[in-house]
């Protein structure tokens, strides 16, 4: 038989977790309603609204834009962030702490402020309302996550392993490829996945720089729910929730969620 938790806080814990899961569970349930309005299905479940997605090409287009932006932005952020994390964790130089704070600073500045600044700057150089603009913004917002995740995985790295390899006759390139890369690869992958998830969900900065015509999936959903609310958005959201869950599980396997989130 399963052992029941006996701590007095156990009941509180259950209520707390229910509060956190409630909105997500509701969205997923509503997605399966056979009705035409936001109703939690009780007797019948239907895939009607998932089929409906196919009849709304604007969601499909938006998803494609989101996906291509997320791929380009997360790869760029991963490369830039990983290099910077190496500099910060493995070398000492004047201003290193300041550099670290600078690289993490997009997390401290409100996204609305990042959004208006980038919009103003890009409209000066004629780049506003383009896919490039969205990618530029997403890289800014995701670099800190990569820097933090990769730094966390580099802190445990023992440089004497590399020296040992070089003593045994390996050159610098071989050492990097055979020793360092395999050891820090999980951290880099985790940083990349993290950046990818964050880019896929980014709304605020995108809202400012994307202009009236371009829409990523979060923007499309946001515009949709500010005008009408039907179960269609719930169905689209459910698809994203499933994708995010897969990403999160990978992340947890690779580095552990609490570390990735900087706790």
């Amino acid at each position: 038989m399963k052992k029941l938790p006996k701590h007095p806080l156990a009941v509180f814990n259950i209520l707390f977790l229910a509060f956190l899961l409630a909105p997500i569970v509701v969205v997923v349930l509503v997605a399966f309603t056979p009705e035409g309005w936001l109703q939690i299905p009780t007797t019948r479940f239907s895939l009607r609204w998932f089929r409906e997605i196919a009849r709304h090409p604007e969601f499909i287009t938006a998803f494609k834009i989101s996906l291509s932006v997320a791929i380009v932005a997360s790869i760029t952020a991963t490369v830039l962030g990983t290099l910077a994390a190496m500099a910060i964790t493995q070398y000492r130089f004047p201003g290193r702490d300041m550099l670290n704070s600078f690289l993490l600073s997009p997390l401290m500045v409100p996204t609305v402020v990042t959004g208006i600044s980038l919009l103003y700057f890009l409209s000066m150089i004629g780049l506003a309302s383009t896919v490039t603009a969205i990618i530029l913004g997403h890289v800014i917002v995701t670099i800190p996550y990569v820097v933090r995740t990769v730094s966390a995985s580099l802190v445990g790295f023992d440089p004497s392993l590399e020296r040992a390899a070089m003593n045994l006759g390996a050159n610098r390139f071989q050492t990097f490829l055979r020793i360092r890369l395999p050891l820090i690869a999980p951290g880099i992958t985790a940083g990349g996945i993290f950046a990818f998830i964050m880019s896929l969900d980014e709304l605020t900065v995108t809202l400012f720089v994307s202009g009236p015509k371009l829409a990523t999936l979060p923007i499309r959903i946001y515009n949709h729910i500010t005008y009408i609310t039907d179960p269609l958005v719930a169905a689209v959201s459910t698809v994203i929730v499933v994708l995010t869950c897969i990403g999160v599980m990978l992340l947890d396997r690779l580095v552990g969620l609490d570390r990735a989130l900087g706790a």
Partner: protein, 287 residues
């Protein structure tokens, strides 16, 4: 042997610094100057150095009211996340193994699930015909549905939901660092478990409480998506006002001034709060 002052490895940080320098730092400085520009609906943005935007913002009661509302919401969210986040963090330190991993995953889920999705979930839950109101009316707790959607209450609930994970994480981190022997010592010296908690555990977790509440407060002050969906133009917060000025009224200079005042105000409040706490009775735990 003299170590290099500038090792070549430091160059690895150049690409990222360049990117953030050009697309983040420079635009921030430009926006600062933008906030001093003028604007007229017919001529658009007019460069110059004028304090009109700031004067308008600090004298018009409409704008002051929105700042006060944003502050009120943020303080409430900070207090509620602290009250419910602390027991949860405490409970987490007692868990082990797979149960702990599962609970941790659920605690972190609001941070990872798409912002529009979770806000839409609250939208469904809080509506007049939503689950919560149906339950309240069904149980006879109220005659009619409560105004939860498009109200400050709704925004506070939505923000508490996204931000409480940050509070739990920072308190959990500080509880983890405390030495369990200290509590045992207090208890063996005759302190009741309740007294041991208030005299030992709570003060030792103050750095976590401080870090968590600063984080939650700052994030609430600048939050956009949650108040936009759950309050929108019916219950405006400062971030929403900035959005309207930029994308609807097109008065960019005034929008820039609003945004900068929001940032400076938030930073000032946080600094004062830090000072007050660190000077207080428990200052030694911050050493």
């Amino acid at each position: 042997m003299k170590t290099e002052k500038w090792p070549k490895g430091a160059l690895l940080a150049v690409p990222a610094s360049f990117w953030l320098g050009i697309f983040f730092l420079v635009p921030l400085i430009l926006v600062l100057s933008l906030s001093f520009y003028g604007y007229s609906p017919t001529e658009g943005v007019k460069p110059g150095i004028k304090f009109d935007n700031y004067i308008k913002l600090f004298t018009d009661t409409y704008y002051i009211g929105i700042f006060v509302r944003t502050f009120r919401i943020s303080i409430l969210v900070t207090i509620i996340t602290l009250l419910i986040g602390y027991p949860e963090a405490y409970f987490l330190t007692r868990l082990r193994g797979r149960v702990k991993a599962l609970v941790m995953m659920i605690v972190l889920s609001p941070l990872l699930i798409s912002a529009v999705t979770r806000t839409f979930g609250w939208f469904i839950l809080l509506g007049n015909n939503g689950v919560i109101n149906n339950a309240i009316v069904g149980l006879g707790l109220s005659d009619g549905p409560l105004k939860l959607l498009y109200s400050e209450t709704g925004i506070v609930i939505g923000l508490t939901h996204v931000l409480v994970p940050l509070m739990v994480l920072s308190i959990y981190a500080s509880l983890q660092k405390r030495d369990p022997a200290l509590v045992k010592a207090a208890e063996s010296l005759g302190a009741s478990p309740v007294r041991a908690f208030f005299e030992v555990t709570l003060p030792l977790s103050l750095p976590g409480i401080l870090a968590g509440s600063v984080l939650v407060f700052t994030m609430s002050m600048s939050a956009f998506v949650t108040p936009a969906v759950l309050g929108g133009s019916r219950v405006r917060v400062v971030a929403y006002l900035v959005y309207e000025e930029f994308l609807q009224s097109l008065n960019w200079p005034f929008g820039a001034a609003l945004a900068l005042v929001l940032v400076v105000l938030t930073m000032t409040i946080v600094l004062v709060y830090n000072r007050l706490i660190e000077r207080g009775r428990w200052k030694e735990v911050f050493r």
